[in-house]
Each structure stands twice: as C-alpha cells, then as structure tokens.
C-alpha cells in the first residue's frame, strides 16, 4: 500500500495536468527505509513526448547525489499517461529499475489540462512483475488512519 499526503498527491496531479499532452515525470523522496514520500521533485521530461519520458541524465545524477547526501531514497517514481489508462506500459515495466519504489501512474487522458478527475494508481514493479496496490491519501486535518475516500473532483 502507498500512503501519501493529499498535498503531495494533488501536486503530482497538477504537474501531470500542466504538462499534458506531454508526459510529466518526477519522484517523491523520503527518508531511507521509511516508505514515506516527503519531498516532491518535479523532473523535466527530457524526451518531451506524449508517449515517452526520461529524466535528463545530468539532472538524474544531481538528484541521486542530493538523495544520497540526505539519506533519502526514491519512495515514489511517478509519470503520466496522456492518452491511455494509468497502467504501466510494456516499456515502463522493461525499464523499471527501482524495485523498492512505488510506481505511480496518473492518466490525464480524460480531461487533459482541465479540471476533472484523474486516475491515480500505484504499483510495484519487480523483475517484470506488476502488482497494483491500494493508495491511501492522508488529509492534514484528518490524521487518523482510516483510508481516505478518493475525491470525485480535483
């Protein structure tokens, strides 16, 4: 299961809507071993494409060095699909290289840059095997551990 603050979830969705029709991508770093996504880092999609994303190699190194220095790891690796559902593509599965991360997929296919609900789903991708997991969204005013109900509108 992925547990994520609503503010971070909403920021990922906003990034995806802003970059539509190109794919948006980024990570959310968190303390090593915590499984807690804390620090959102929006990355430039160096591919600038509606069907592909890739972190720029220089920015990728800078990001990992920051994380190593701060004892962080990529808790979430996210990207958007702009014409298809929020499910890992064959390419996503083949290139997934963080077995400890939650792979979050957002689909902007339905509403593009506009307001409206988006699919926000999370997966583990390990050795080519995809496992979808529950997403629990935490509201700042509601810190109890009940699963949050997905909102119908963003």
């Amino acid at each position: 299961m992925l547990t994520i603050d609503r503010a971070i979830r909403d920021a990922i969705v906003a990034h995806a809507k802003r970059d539509h029709p190109d794919e948006a991508c980024g990570i959310v770093a968190g303390p090593e071993g915590s499984d807690t996504p804390v620090r959102l880092v929006e990355m430039v999609n160096a591919a600038g494409s509606p069907t592909f994303y890739e972190f720029d190699s220089t920015e990728l190194l800078a990001l990992y060095k920051q994380m190593w220095d701060a004892d962080e790891e990529p808790v979430i690796v996210y990207h958007s699909h702009t014409a298809t559902e929020a499910y890992p593509s064959r390419t996503d599965i083949g290139l997934a290289s963080e077995p400890g991360a939650h792979y979050v997929l957002v689909s902007t296919a339905e509403h593009g840059n506009n307001d409206g609900p988006v699919e926000f789903r999370s997966y583990r991708i390990v050795d080519g095997a995809v496992t979808e997991e529950e997403v629990r969204v935490l509201d700042p005013t509601n810190t109890d551990q009940n699963p949050a109900t997905p909102r119908s509108n963003d």
């Binding site: 890739e54 972190f55 990728l60 190194l61 290289s97 400890g100």
Partner: protein, 90 residues
C-alpha cells in the same frame, strides 16, 4: 589504481549488496572487464553487443561518459564512477 564505483540498488545482487565497490582499469571498458571478474554477470547489465546500454547512465566524476568518449573514456586513480539506470518509460 583504484576506482570507486557506485552501484545502483538494482545491480547490488551482483555485489553482495554493496553500495560501492572498487575496481581498476585505464578506460571504462577495462574497468567493466575488471568488475566482471569480481562480480560475474554485472557486465551484461551494463553492455549490450559491446556498447553501453541505452538506458544505463555511467558517470565519471559527474560527467556522463557519453560526452567523454563512452567506453573509451579515460580513468585515473581516485576517479569516482557512478552507475545509474535511466528513469524512463512510456
């Protein structure tokens, strides 16, 4: 001649879990050959048909090796090599 090589999570199965290993070689190509001797299997994860894999990034002292000669990039004692899989997909 000692080169520190930073190993990404996904390749640590080849290094008994070590985050960094030491190797040697005067070029990246020689270093990979040297690493393969101590960590069998790792070369195949870095190379494809004798070329660096498209979705594996290798850096020497923070420079992407693609801009400094690829597999023929020169190494010196004390250099730091970082291997990072691309974060990419479709």
């Amino acid at each position: 001649m000692a080169i520190e090589v930073r190993i990404p999570t996904i390749l640590r199965t080849y290094t008994d879990g070590a985050k960094a290993v030491t190797g040697e070689g005067e070029t990246l190509s020689a270093l990979i050959e040297n690493l393969e001797a101590s960590h069998p299997g790792i070369a195949d994860r870095l190379l494809d048909n004798g070329e660096l894999r498209r979705f594996v990034n290798v850096y020497i002292n923070d420079e992407d090796v693609r801009f400094i000669g690829g597999l023929e990039a020169k190494l010196s004692d004390g250099d730091q090599v970082v291997v990072l899989p691309a974060v990419a997909g479709g």
